[in-house]
Amino acid sequence: MKGILDYVPGSSFLHRLNPLVKLLLAFVLCASCFVTGNHFIVLGVIALNLALAFSAGIFGRALKMLSSLLKLSALLFLVQIFFVREGQILLQLPLGLYITDLGLSFSLLFVLRLLAAALPLGLMLSVTQTSDIPNVLVRKLGLPYQYAFVLGTAIRFIPLFAQEMAGIMEAQTARGVEFDTKNFFKKVALLLPLCAPLLVSSVRRIEGGAISAELRGFYLRGRKSGYKDYPFALRDFGALLGGACVLALAVLF
């Protein structure tokens, strides 16, 4: 099964960027959304993300990410919008609830930020080989390999986690548990007991991975023993410059 964050092989501009630059770029794009208060800049970042995804041949995946993020955002949007009580009242609802212009603007920004900040991380993971992240952090930034590796593994386990959860839910559904219930609390009550088996099977997985890594000399690895070099190329500087421009726009407006 292919997870939504799994690496997609390719040789596009994004794929060929230095992994460190990819990390930085994702971070800069996230940061831009939080320093700016301008809806259009945030929308622009989302559009930029989609364009980048298109260039890397993962447009379909980006849309899928966007749609699953949208479901979460819709919920947050509804919660947020009733929370803000300042500003002019646009719509009066029963139960003392009302929507203000400030609330609308604030919630919209909040949700857009969420989308724009999550997308670059998802895209970055899709175009970066997992082991490149720890490798480049070790070689270029001098991070101790063992810490860098743990970081890389944590990232890799997100999709494995999701897969495990899906497997457990499937098994429970086969036993007659209905997860498709409309009642939110009932759903939580159904899902909670699954956390224990999920934890057990994940811990077992992680333990297996740790043992296999140790048997392949994980603890012997020094800073110098990397095979790949990760040299910076012209395109890397170009990409960084582009990122800097987005950030500058975000700060100015």
Binding site: G3, D6, P9, Q129, S131, G208, S212, R216, G217
Partner: protein, 281 residues
Amino acid sequence: MIELKNLGFRYSGAERHALDGISLTIEDGAFLGLIGSSGAGKSTLCYALSGIVPHHYRGDFYGELLVEGMDSAEHRPEEIARVLGCVFQDIDGQMVASVVEDEILFGLENFGVPREEIEGRVAEALAAAGISELRCRAISDLSGGQKQKVAIAAITALRPKIIVLDEPTGELDPRSSRRVFETLKELNEQYGVTIVVVEQKIMLLCEFAKRLAVMEEGKLILEGEVREVLQSAGRMEAAGVNIPRVTTLARALREEGLYGGRLPLNLEEGEKMMREVGLSC
């Protein structure tokens, strides 16, 4: 060479021993199949061979295990790993990389293999496992059989003298299972690698393994050449191990006094037996 001398292990908290007084010698160049019902202690034996038992799992450990002369109680698992590579049951959990090439590089980089040697080793390991064309593929895109071969290549790249595999065909269909065993055979015959493989499919072991070891409740109950071990088919069945149908048939014919030749292990030999008996099929 691997020597087990009265080896025993009980996981802390467990009531009975997972390994119970096992004595066994595995010669260089051997192809040993290890069989036994579930819970017999096969995986624990693999852990012991790689040094994970007693270094990782706590428990009572007794007896002695020598891998190429190294006492497993004294040497760390990563030292043993230089001569003995392991592929464990949960194949997905063992992968550390997202791309095949990186998975192979992982061990080579860790063990500090010189740069100029690395490329050759990667190419050779991929070729030996028959997966050269998968080099740049994402691991999550591969089938179970292909992943199994990646795991094998990641180990062979380190050039161990011995490879231990725990149920490598557990989740594979018959054809991919055969391919994995063909890869093992090639490693054994072309490269002289000693193979120890836990396997439930007795027909595969009959075809590929040279020796067979049968475990029951932590004990080693039978060990020897495949045909020799199958003479004790009754004992194997009592231990919950399937035996090939032709072998069962031959035993039935023997009991009737109709057949006195050697035990057939596969269909071809079974056909020969039937001709000898005088029934054509």
